[in-house]
Assembly symmetry: C3
Homo-oligomer: 352 residues x 3
């Protein structure tokens, strides 16, 4: 199904230079776009590539427009953030191709009689919705998902197949739970007595705001007594672990395999690279960016980029450097000895 450029501009804004009746069938990156595509220039360094693009139309920023216009003959949509424009246009094209799952409850699903399911929601095969749960308008719960007792799923949220959302947890509007994600499992809390662990019941909830994405096989624990809170717009990639009683500020994003231990308080607009780890009870300020593979073992109260991983080397070289790292304090001792000796020598030299 195609779309007129005029329709796109009407929907998403931007200034069209070219024929509003020109139809495009989809969106594609610069290097693979053909005559039926619209493409986009999100990085000024790629201007040369844009000039050669076979796309029917290009989304460009004002500061690139003159240069592109000089050689590129297709239509242009000029807009301040071409990458965001691309994302919106791509969502639009994807929706054209998509067959949304039909409203209604699949006969194989088990929905407790006390649960409330909006008639516009889709409940897929082999789903279980427990007592008192509330499923909002337009929600999609795919096959094999579990929604626990008194849980609340906000309007337009989408749970992919085999996701698990436990009792009393809440997710706001337009949330996404990817397959295998588990929200509201017990936190890891024990008292110790005579060498044995005694479980501390985890009676808090997980509260997810609006527009929160939870990746595949990511886990978020419920709070011990208070709640675990994830604010609006937080994006968690796959295989992430969020411990009990954490608080993650709005629009913070974490890449795959990140771990956050219990009671950490993380600010807004932070980013965490893959496999970064945060110890428990720490505080991370707003606008902090942690590089991949870094262990955060103390609070970070100042915005900025932080890093801490051992640099990769050929194994033989690593063995050498690691052996020295192990003995750095002896190296420091040697330097101190040298300093003393030199001081002595210098004094002797001066006395002569």
């Amino acid at each position: 199904m195609g779309t007129r450029l005029g329709d796109l501009v009407e929907r998403f804004g931007g200034q069209l230079v070219g024929d509003p009746n020109l139809e495009v069938q989809g969106i594609a990156p610069l290097d693979s776009a053909g005559a039926s595509h619209i493409s986009f220039l999100s990085n000024s360094k790629l201007r040369a590539l844009a000039a050669q693009s076979g796309a029917a139309a290009l989304i460009v920023a004002p500061l690139d427009d003159a240069t592109v216009a000089a050689t590129y003959e297709g239509a242009r949509i000029v807009t301040t953030n071409p990458y965001a424009y691309f994302a919106r246009a791509a969502q639009y094209f994807a929706a054209l191709d998509d067959t949304p799952p039909p409203p209604g409850v699949h006969p194989s699903a088990v929905v407790h009689e006390s649960a409330t399911v909006d008639p516009s929601a889709h409940i897929g095969p082999n789903v279980t919705v427990d007592a008192g749960a509330t499923i909002g308008a337009g929600v999609v719960i795919e096959a094999g998902c579990f929604v626990g007792r008194d849980a609340e799923v906000g309007e337009g949220s989408h749970f992919f197949a085999n996701a698990t959302f436990h009792a009393r947890c809440k997710i706001g509007k337009r949330g996404i739970l990817h397959s295998g994600a588990v929200i509201g499992t017990d936190g890891f809390g024990f008292a110790r007595e005579n060498g044995l662990y005694i479980k501390i019941p985890q009676t808090g909830r997980v509260l997810l705001g609006d527009d929160v994405d939870i990746g595949a096989n990511t886990t978020v624990d419920r709070g011990a007594m208070a709640d675990t809170i994830i604010e609006d717009g937080v994006k968690l990639d796959n295989q992430i672990q969020i411990g009990h009683n954490c608080h993650i500020g709005a629009n913070t994003a974490m890449a795959g395999c990140v771990g956050v231990a219990g009671s950490a308080k993380i600010g807004k607009n932070c980013t965490f690279g893959g496999a970064a780890m945060v110890l428990g009870h720490l505080e991370i300020a707003d606008n902090v960016h942690i590089s991949s593979g870094s262990m955060v073992s103390r609070s970070v109260l100042e915005p900025g980029q932080y890093t801490g991983f051992y640099p990769l080397a050929k194994n033989a070289e690593w063995e050498k450097s690691a052996a020295i790292v192990r003995n750095l304090s002896s190296m420091r001792e040697k330097i101190r000895t040298l300093e003393k000796q030199i001081k002595q020598l210098t004094e002797q030299a001066e006395q002569k």
Copy 2:
């Protein structure tokens, strides 16, 4: 539902100072407890907070009791381990609020005719229990779980929604399998021939003792020929991977995202911080504590705390230190050269 302090003391011990008929509705931490709560002082440093607590009663240790009693006017339960007492009392209050799932097999569950399910067990919706499996008294298997052929689930164990427990594996009494946990998947074993991997069948089992907790999305592989063994009281948090043929000693606890490669033998009463990794075939003694983010690349035969992660720094500082780490051997060379030069200078000076 409330509880008399006298009932608590009768059930869990401790010395009550105050009215045994005083009723409390629940347990709460010092800073949020109100007039209907009992609270607890687990850390002497918080004595001042205890004195100001609005709780109706406090659980305190003998060594804190005099100080607390001087200013705090509520009732007190004096006991040697207030934190453990809190855990037990919290379990008790949680059970009062809890609606345990009813005994019986949900009609949508598929239980093989040769499986044995105790009449007191609960088998939830969309569960599958395969041939020859045994489900003990009081067991709860929530929605969407899978229990494989000839598997055995001990009395009082609880599988949360969408957990997977494979053929022939066993779990003892009072075990917990959180959602998405997978027990008894094939270990990662291959022979290599002409560049291709040939799968080695994994025919061992996973044997979990009593009181074992397995976190959400944690995986434990079955042994290759022998079994993978997890002893009584082991607590594994979420997103942990335990390789085939590992042996984990009683009452060892691991925080989220830990990985243990195949055939590692880990002692009793160990702790592993989040994202710690243990290489295969290593041995870890009893009472070893591994810090978060540390890679255990050799056996650890002496008890104690061990650590190994790169310290976090501002990215610019990390870049400097990482560059030097890469070239530590040249730094060592420089120091050696300096040592030689100084030795020469010193000898020259002495000769004069």
Copy 3:
């Protein structure tokens, strides 16, 4: 059920020294094999153990045969790769014990009328197969799995319980998806505008070749616009994350907890130790081996073994070394100062 040695040799090759009518019941490692077992010597260092083995027969390499024959009195199968021979024989014995699941669709499974399921395939309880999906000959889809719209599962592939295989993805012949694995979830792609993340639809697929194994709770994201590609013979252990648009070359193997960020291109015959991480958009050549716990933050274009993790130490020692690592640039400054001072002293000494 037993097997004649003659049958084994007929099936898997090798030169038999001994009675072809001797029956063995199974295969076992050297130290536990008894009179009803065949065992194998995969490492010349274990020759002494082999000599004492109680096994009825041994699989040995030509270069070990003479030594073994001198003391060991059982039968021998001489073959160039005893470990691969063991793997094949073990597969054979395992299949003898195995009850393969029966062909057909379990009545509790929900298979869309437009899906194509080969009559020889097994579709277990509570499985969902969506519209247009194709399930090949001899495929086993265990309980609770999900196969999405238009997905294709090749001949002889096996999905263990509660695996998820999303729309339009393909897996070739003899593939294995372990429990909790999720193939084809959305990649982590967003545009940012005014501090908010705008989702970029992930419209590519995941294409898995033949003989690909995917471990328990491992996740592979679909491509953003192009596909994520995993070539023939790739083996992924548990808890691995593969980002969108990655390309993994044939017969590459990754141990548990590895993470690979989006658009990384990894060569053939590589190995990755547990918890290794690869940043996005990097290129890794063929035959590169990354040690456990190592962060790959730059492309690796030369074959070889690469490592980068902080060495483990007693915590007190680590604290010392980590403090110095943090201040390595001041140590370098001190060395420079020493070098200058010594140069001065040396010049002074020469002038005298």
